[in-house]
Amino acid sequence: MSLHAHHITAGHHPGTPVLTDVTLTIPAGSIVGLTGPSGSGKTTLARVLTGLHTPQQGDVTLDDELLFTAAPGAVAMLFQSPRQAVTGRWTLGRIIAEPLHGRRGRADTVRAAAARVGLTGDLLARRPHQVSDGQLQRACLARALVQRPRYLICDEMTSMLDPATTAALTTVITEETRSGLGVLAISHHHGLLEVWADHVIAWA
């Protein structure tokens, strides 16, 4: 059981790939840390693993089936800037509910997910400009969790957050790994990955 990137070559211009022949495995139930300098292709790999970017070569398998045949929502992503990852005109409640579509028990699911990430009920009626980056990133994590992903890709998820929010969100994610969630944690912060991740890959 793993999310597996197999000999990935990817980039934005043919001939100058950002990633060349990269292989990486994220086992279910564990946190893999990935660190490396700016421009080394960490974000491109995150986008390939979530199906947001098509590699020039190689493929991604999710529990041994190809990523694009997996159920929608099997891989979720958290971005560096929560503000750029939400619709500014929606309330936090609607943002969290988005992956649920018309599913039954939606309001309860949203409330439970919000409580899970430490968002109080009054915040669910607010819009992004009325909350802090930390509160908005909590909402983004709740949105990722309501779709019950098997894998979660965190691209510099904590770089705009204060230490208390970072500790709160990483703790929630660690708890989710106990029920099988596999996590790729991309960060510049070596100290964070050393403590949080089960093992760390450092790109030169």
Binding site: S132, S159, L161, A164, A168, H188, G191, E194
Partner: protein, 310 residues
């Protein structure tokens, strides 16, 4: 050098909004000294940036300010900024107090080059420096002057912002989370530039979430919770032996402290009660849950309950 450059004396900022009055800063006492880098830390939404904005005269117009903000210069009268009018601010901003924003590139005009904009700034401030000298001082190649803001990387933009701030040789520099989007190497470089500015005589206020970097790069730290300062002291001493329970909890939340989350969330600042509210987050006997005051011990201070044994 320990000459005070700027003193906040009971600074209280209230901002009326549709949903109530925001208690953005309450009875903040802080002295920024020439030659020192002062850190201001606390969770998002605790009012740190409001303190920085008040010092720079950048509060929303609806905000009400009480208490004092005094700018000192040896041999001349103090300037009281809490009620300063635009005329006064024009002589202060950029020249005696400068501001370094978080996402520097968004503060520049996208359609003109960095060099043109820096030259304009130097001209308006009657700067003794040329744009080329300022760029060199912050470690940027002279060719950067010919680039447009979108051609700068995050680290270059942050360095450029420091060059703009240094143009007027300010006495006080307020940097609001200048390193939050930078990798460790660029963070280190940015903090060294702030240190160099302090060594050249400025008083620097660094508002930051990157707590790990502070002991090596700052002289003093002030910890803020829900609009109030709860502890101040030399950074190394406070980090090695925090006195206030909130400081302890904040340090324990760091990776180096074990990533222990603080239970609950910080309160919204709308219509706060009139005193420290940390006991609502977790019990803090002796420190919060009644009338508090700042107890001074040598070069450190901590907010505790009035009458609590120290």
């Amino acid at each position: 050098m320990t000459i005070p450059a700027l003193t906040l004396d009971g600074l209280t900022v209230r901002i009326p909004t549709a949903s109530g009055t925001v208690h953005a800063a309450s009875e903040v006492d802080l002295t920024l000294r020439a030659g020192q880098v002062h850190a201001l830390v606390g969770e998002s939404g605790c009012g740190k940036s409001v303190v920085g904005a008040a010092i720079c005269g950048l509060l929303p117009t609806a905000a009400t300010v009480s208490g004092g903000i005094a700018l000192h210069r040896p041999g001349s009268a103090d300037v009281h900024l809490e009620a300063a009018r635009p005329r006064t601010w024009r002589k202060i901003r950029g020249r005696r107090i400068a501001w370094i924003p978080q996402s520097a590139a968004t503060y520049l005009t996208p359609v003109r080059t960095v060099g043109e904009q820096l030259a304009e700034t130097c001209r308006h401030l009657d700067s003794p420096h040329t744009p080329a000298v300022l760029l060199t001082r912050v470690g940027l190649e002279p060719t950067v002057a010919g680039l447009y803001p979108h051609e700068l990387s995050g680290g270059m933009a942050q360095r450029a912002a420091i060059a703009f701030a240094l143009a007027g040789d300010p006495q006080v520099i307020v940097a609001d989370e200048p390193t939050s989007n930078l990798d460790p190497e660029l963070t280190d470089h940015t903090l060294r530039l702030l240190r160099a500015a302090a060594d050249a005589g400025a008083a620097v206020l660094l508002i930051s979430h990157d707590l790990d970097t502070l002991p090596a790069h700052t002289d003093r730290v002030a910890v803020m919770y829900a609009s109030r300062i709860v502890e101040t002291g030399p950074t190394a001493d406070v980090f090695a032996d925090p006195w206030h329970p909130y400081t302890r909890d904040l340090l324990a939340a760091l990776p180096s402290g074990g990533l222990h989350p603080i239970p609950g969330m910080p309160p919204v600042l709308t219509d706060l009660p009139g005193d420290c509210v940390y006991h609502q987050r977790r019990p803090a006997p002796g420190f919060s849950g009644g009338p508090t005051h700042i107890a001074q011990h040598g070069d450190r201070s901590v907010r505790r309950l009035i009458g609590a044994a120290s």
